[in-house]
Symmetry: C2
DNA sequence: GCATCGTGGTAAAACGATTTACGAAATACG
DNA sequence: CGTATTTCGTAAATCGTTTTACCACGATGC
């Protein structure tokens, strides 16, 4: 039957991974049966089942994910799009997502948008081309989705953290208004009247929200006229520069509320370089938590997002969306947490 | 139980992404021609080429990555296995790898081994099942590869950072011996004679190397008899506890060399909680660099691995290995860098 | 004019799994 | 014992792409 077939098909078993045919052949059954055994799709007589399992084990067979997901139409992979991994907040999100994925038998495909909308669009496209079952996006900018090159076919998608009131997607984000509010209120309660808020030049929705919270606390205390917005940039260095200028003024603030990771670090550097007594002469409420913060003195009072909750909830919402694509859109808000420590003192 | 499930085969064209057939149909050519145009495989007459490009654009067609990689036999995906992403050193590695991947048109699949060999083996298996073109592993333990459940079919693999003298794989790692040496030598040159080295209980190859460097510097200075090994654990807290005990002793060291990120933080916490004057009464050489370090006072003198180089070199080696699987095994060593700042002072 | 060549197009065969449909055997039922 | 029903196994279709093999056609060489 075989004869002279010039096809060295399965001639080199040493290098290539075994296929379902190899297993079937070795077990003396059909590929369909192997699939049924390994996938548990249908009942298989116990003797042939044993044969299959044995053969698969000997050959070290692992089903080819490309082939199976092509056939089944899902990849059990979730695309994760974050601005960058260098920022501890995002790497924490990714860590938690990775754990959720492992629990649920998924894998995550991580790409970085570098906080640039064009790059983000490109990276999202390439993740879609891989036919991921869903996407978790911590958007680069408010402008997300407003761009003309918006992908035509999008798998279930959840917007996280910087999610804004987008019409189309589920969103899970921190209570940024409250973040601004509780941080500022804490300083007011300590007797401060000259409170500067340090934020970014880009009017990201989530940052505007934090500033709105600051304003709310101020006006609630009858200090509406004493707003002091300090506009920093996207780098630690840029924040340091502007806050240093602010602190050089004769009417410098007695307290600073940093609303981002960058501005927190920038503020600390500015205080150090000016040699101001900290926290005696200047109070600071920082943003985000980090393991490193335990090594910084004074121990920083900070408002922190709960990254584990953000990650967990967004994962849950995404899974629900995948299960029921037509379900009602969800918009989840995660509370923030104020940790009172030593960097904010009563106003002198 | 499940309800009635009809067959909504191609009934909903609005939701499913377009296939190459859709494009071919719309352009009035065959799928083969579409593939040739989009892939640039063969010459196509310019009028039909234009038709195809037009049709693809209108439909928003993106080739199905599952199908194409099944056919071509490669996925243009690299698996990345790291202990965790919470550790800034690893998240830096991943960041750089992600950038390299983006440049080369790859995607990376990130999984965490949680520093556990069993988990690592499982995660590696699931990455292999996805038929990645290559794997970058920052191993969980020296024991890597020694485990009996070692994967039978492994794509090109490069071991990074904690790579040890493994017979089978390319390795790219820091010069850990030198890391221990230069850190210790710096302290010796400052006049210290009682130098404790803080390391982990697990005798990881790379940690042993760092301690060996410490020993080398000591014996070179005729201090061979004055070794002071302090064994911490894998957490900041565990390190803090042991170093605190060490610092309570009447003959406490005048300097500490922390050889890991955990022990660096643990040492600082211990110093703070004991209220020792730092760096006057105790000197410290830290390990690894972090953006946060700029906020810690005194500014930490530290030995740091060059994560960008580690990532870049390992990526290069992996690409070379993929291109020529039979090439000679490479073993690259990346120098470490000592940044002299303020936490190590001359011995009193 | 005839053989040769190159070009452009397509049909069909992979890739490796899952699933459907069908037949054969085994079991249950009256 | 004959028929109805379930169980088990497999051939073949399918997923969406790339690539091979072949055909048709016009141009070229002699």
């Amino acid at each position: 039957m075989k004869g002279r077939v010039p096809k060295p098909r399965k001639a080199a078993p040493s290098k290539t991974a075994p296929t379902i045919h190899d297993v079937a052949h070795r077990a003396g059954v059909s590929p369909a049966t192997v699939s049924n055994v390994l996938g548990g799709t249908r009942g298989v007589r116990s003797d042939s089942r044993a044969l299959v399992i044995q053969a698969a084990a000997v050959l070290g067979y692992k089903s080819n994910h490309m082939a199976s997901s092509l056939r089944r139409g899902n990849t059990r992979t979730i695309g994760v799009v974050v601005p960058n991994l260098a920022n501890e907040f995002f790497s924490a999100l990714v860590t938690h997502w990775e754990a959720e994925a492992a629990k649920a038998g998924y894998e995550i495909l991580v790409v970085a948008s570098e906080d640039d909308v064009a790059t983000e669009a490109r990276r999202i496209q390439s993740v879609i081309a891989r036919r991921v079952d869903g996407i978790l996006i911590a958007p680069a900018l408010d402008a997300f989705g407003a761009s003309s090159g918006f992908p035509k076919y999008l798998p279930p998608t959840v917007l996280v953290d910087r999610a804004f009131g987008h019409q189309k997607f589920d969103t899970v984000s921190s209570d940024n208004l409250d973040a601004g509010y509780v941080g500022t209120r804490h300083l007011i309660q300590l007797g401060h009247r000259d409170i500067a808020v340090l934020t970014s030049a880009d009017s990201h929705y989530h940052l505007r929200n934090r500033v709105d919270g600051y304003r709310k606390a101020l006006s609630e205390a009858g200090l509406a006229g004493r707003e002091r917005l300090v506009i920093g940039g996207r780098s630690v260095e840029a924040c340091r520069a502007v806050i240093e200028r602010e602190l050089r003024r004769p009417d410098r603030p007695t307290a600073i509320f940093a609303t981002t990771f960058f501005s927190t670090l920038g503020t600390i550097k500015a205080i150090h370089s000016l040699g101001i007594a900290f926290p005696c002469d200047i109070s600071l409420v920082a943003f985000e938590h980090s393991e490193w913060m335990t090594a910084v003195r004074p121990y920083l009072t900070a408002v922190a997002q709960q990254s584990e909750q953000l990650a967990g909830q967004s994962w849950r919402v995404l899974m629900e969306r995948i299960a029921r694509p037509a379900a009602k859109r969800q918009r989840i808000t995660i509370p923030v947490h104020l940790s009172i420590r030593e960097s904010a003192r009563p106003s002198p």
